[in-house]
């Protein structure tokens, strides 16, 4: 029995994947891919699970389905958990409905049925990150995904919705012939191109030039990023031209003036920040050490004699064993405590920032009631815009600071400083506020470093990057301090 068992294992292992069906670049349905990769598909389907962690995961909240919204389970409302958020977003759709995000399986329906759709007419641009779009791009663009991208941007949301069928699926991340990773969302391809160009790397093509280890984060960076809809074309745009740090993004929005909405209670022209996981990860020590999103959110798992990437993408704190202990040889309890201690500190600073913002909103309301004009409040508005964006950046980032704890704390510390100064300025127009200095463009950013290029963290000599086969690929971009290349 033992012998057979080992034999079976070996057989399994040698031929881990059977080509049952022929996949082509037009096979959109993940269930078909699942015929060749049944275990991956099963895992992928499990993103419907809802389990809460201290600051993440999500909670399954039952609701009575209606015709307008047939969902019988949603995630908890963040607005009810913390009503200060309603005040932060007063006048914007987010103040109507904002929930904890949950697994990939829900992305399409959660977008369709969020009450935010009812208060605003959204453009087709929304769809890029909430669906498997690759085949729609090809169809609408006659084989050219860039053209298809534009076409989708120009539609209304519900037109665009008709072009897609599945939440993010195999084909959005994988080449159908080799299963290699690839980036298929034009917004990411373009944004990386612009950023690299600004750093002096001409003609950067992420699908050609990125290393395998980089791709293990870039596929996520297609969606888990700050974005805005640019111009009347509503083109989905990631504001990375100057770099990925918040200072760079703020500078971008200074040069490319953009306002998401006018704050309903203060009247300040403000920006909404959204899920900058990729940007914040890039500022952390893990990115710097070459640890990718997939290393933590899709860690290898043994299934029989095979070892596969866990396609049940979820909070690593629900899977510490595989997600962390491969690298960190501490107990699960200890690792959880460490992560939560970092999150706890961020949470405190976030709360402090929200309190400051609430104070400011009240102050401005009082000042307006007492007759202050928008013109007189212009300085206050500028501080609110900047401070609120910085605060929202960390609030919107979904790891509660874990991806880059020191950077999160820096941003929150500076945000509070701005908001409190705005409170002084409301009362005393002669007050001269101090805007924090920018950090130098590439300081602290992740970079090729050891571990990237498919090679080890344990390369002592550094610099040369000469420790592996990956070498050939480690080219231009290197050593220029650009982010995450």
């Amino acid at each position: 029995a033992l012998a057979t068992n080992i034999f079976e294992r070996k057989q399994e292992a040698r031929n881990p994947f059977f080509r049952v069906v022929e996949l082509t670049d037009d096979t959109a349905d993940p269930a078909v891919w699942g015929k060749n990769f049944p275990i991956h598909y099963d895992m992928y389907l499990r993103t419907v699970d809802q389990v809460r962690t201290k600051y993440g995961g999500s909670e399954a909240v039952p609701r009575a389905p209606t015709q307008a919204d047939p969902r019988s389970v949603v995630a908890q409302s963040r607005l009810e958990e913390d009503p200060r958020l309603k005040t932060m977003w007063a006048g914007y759709a987010f103040s109507k409905d904002f929930r904890e995000e949950r697994g990939h399986a829900y992305m399409l329906s959660d977008q369709v049925f969020t009450e935010r759709q009812q208060v605003t007419k959204q453009p087709g641009t929304c769809i890029h990150c909430h669906a498997s779009t690759y085949n729609a791009y090809k169809k609408l663009g006659d084989g050219d995904i860039m053209k298809g991208f534009d076409a989708l941007n120009h539609m209304t949301y519900f037109e665009a919705r008709k072009q897609v069928e599945h939440p993010v699926a195999c084909i959005d991340c994988h080449d159908s012939q080799t299963m290699q990773l690839r980036v298929t969302k034009p917004a990411f391809i373009q944004a990386m191109g612009r950023m690299k160009a600004a750093q002096g790397v001409q003609d950067y093509n992420v699908n050609r030039d990125a290393t395998r280890q980089e791709m293990r984060s870039y596929v996520c960076g297609q969606c888990h990023v700050e974005y805005y809809f640019k111009g009347p074309e509503k083109t989905l745009t990631f504001p990375w031209d100057k770099g990925l740090k918040i200072d760079n993004i703020l500078a971008y929005y200074d040069e490319n003036p953009h306002t998401d909405w006018k704050h309903a209670e203060t009247g300040a022209p403000v920006l909404k920040a959204q899920h900058p996981e990729f940007e914040m990860w890039n500022q952390g020590v893990h990115a710097r050490s070459g640890v990718s999103c997939s290393d933590c959110h899709m860690p290898y798992t043994r299934v029989g004699a095979q070892k596969i990437s866990d396609h049940h993408v979820r909070s690593p704190l629900l899977n510490i064993n595989k997600a962390c202990q491969t690298c960190h040889h501490f107990s699960e309890a200890e690792l959880r405590e460490r992560a939560e201690a970092l999150q706890e500190r961020t949470f405190r600073l976030r709360n402090q920032g929200l309190d400051a913002l609430m104070g400011l909103v009240n102050d401005v309301k009082a000042a307006k009631a007492a007759g202050k004009t928008d013109a007189e409040l212009a300085g206050v508005y500028a501080l609110q815009r900047r401070g609120q964006f910085m605060l929202d950046f960390i609030e919107a980032e979904n790891s509660m600071g874990f991806h880059a704890p020191e950077e999160a704390a820096r941003i929150l510390g500076q945000a509070t400083n701005l908001l409190r100064q705005a409170q002084v300025l409301v009362r005393d127009p002669s007050f001269k506020p101090e805007i924090p200095d920018m950090l130098p463009a590439a300081a602290g950013d992740a970079h090729a470093g050891p571990g990237v290029g498919g090679k080890t963290v344990g390369n002592p000599t550094g610099g040369s990057g000469a420790s592996g086969q990956g070498q050939g690929q480690q080219q231009q971009g290197q050593g220029q301090g650009g982010p995450a290349h």
Binding site: A13, G290, G458, G468
Partner: protein, 181 residues
């Protein structure tokens, strides 16, 4: 040792031995420092140099001490490669140890790390298959070359697996030596 022809391999071994014996009093040094044991697979041989003690004791606590000795991980898994690596390392280590001129803490260098990575892959071929990209190519009816060419013509393929392999040691640094973390 891809890229190193057999003749080069052999002459390198011979050269290393010749150079080794040519040094004055080398014979005594070799014996006294238990140099001959260096040619065995006994891990204790490595620990003859107390600078290797840390790795030795780390190895005794590691998950691999029942299944792999130093040479399994630190020499290529073919005959000539093995003795070439031993000759180079042996020579290099003796000189380094005696002159005291080396970086401490000792860190594995690029060349030896490649050897070690290859060793993981050689023992764990089964698993490697599953985690390498381009895997469908192997089980596909078409030859690997063909499907790659198709993909390359379409111009949307990520760099081929040979260049894009991933490092085992990035996640499994401590399999050979417990305290490397």
């Amino acid at each position: 040792m891809p890229g190193v022809s057999r003749r080069v391999t052999i002459s390198a071994v011979v050269l290393a031995v010749l150079v080794g014996t040519a040094v004055g009093a080398a014979g005594f040094t070799f014996v006294y420092a238990k140099g001959s044991s260096y040619l065995t697979d006994d891990p204790a041989a490595c620990a003859n140099c107390h600078v290797m003690n840390e790795q030795y004791s780390g190895w005794t606590k590691s998950s691999h001490h029942n299944v792999a000795v130093c040479n399994d991980c630190h020499t290529p898994h073919n005959f000539f490669g093995k003795y070439l690596a031993k000759a180079l390392n042996g020579w290099h280590h003796s000189v380094a140890f005696t002159s005291g001129d080396f970086h401490e803490p000792i860190h594995i260098g690029a060349r030896n790390l490649e050897v070690t990575e290859a060793a993981c892959r050689s023992c764990h071929q089964d698993i490697v298959q599953a985690i390498e990209p381009g895997l469908l190519v192997r089980v596909s009816a078409e030859g690997a070359g063909d499907s790659r060419k198709v993909a390359e013509r379409q111009g949307n393929l990520h760099t081929p697996p040979g260049d894009g392999t991933m490092s085992c040691v990035r996640c499994h640094r401590s399999v050979g030596h417990m305290e490397l973390d």
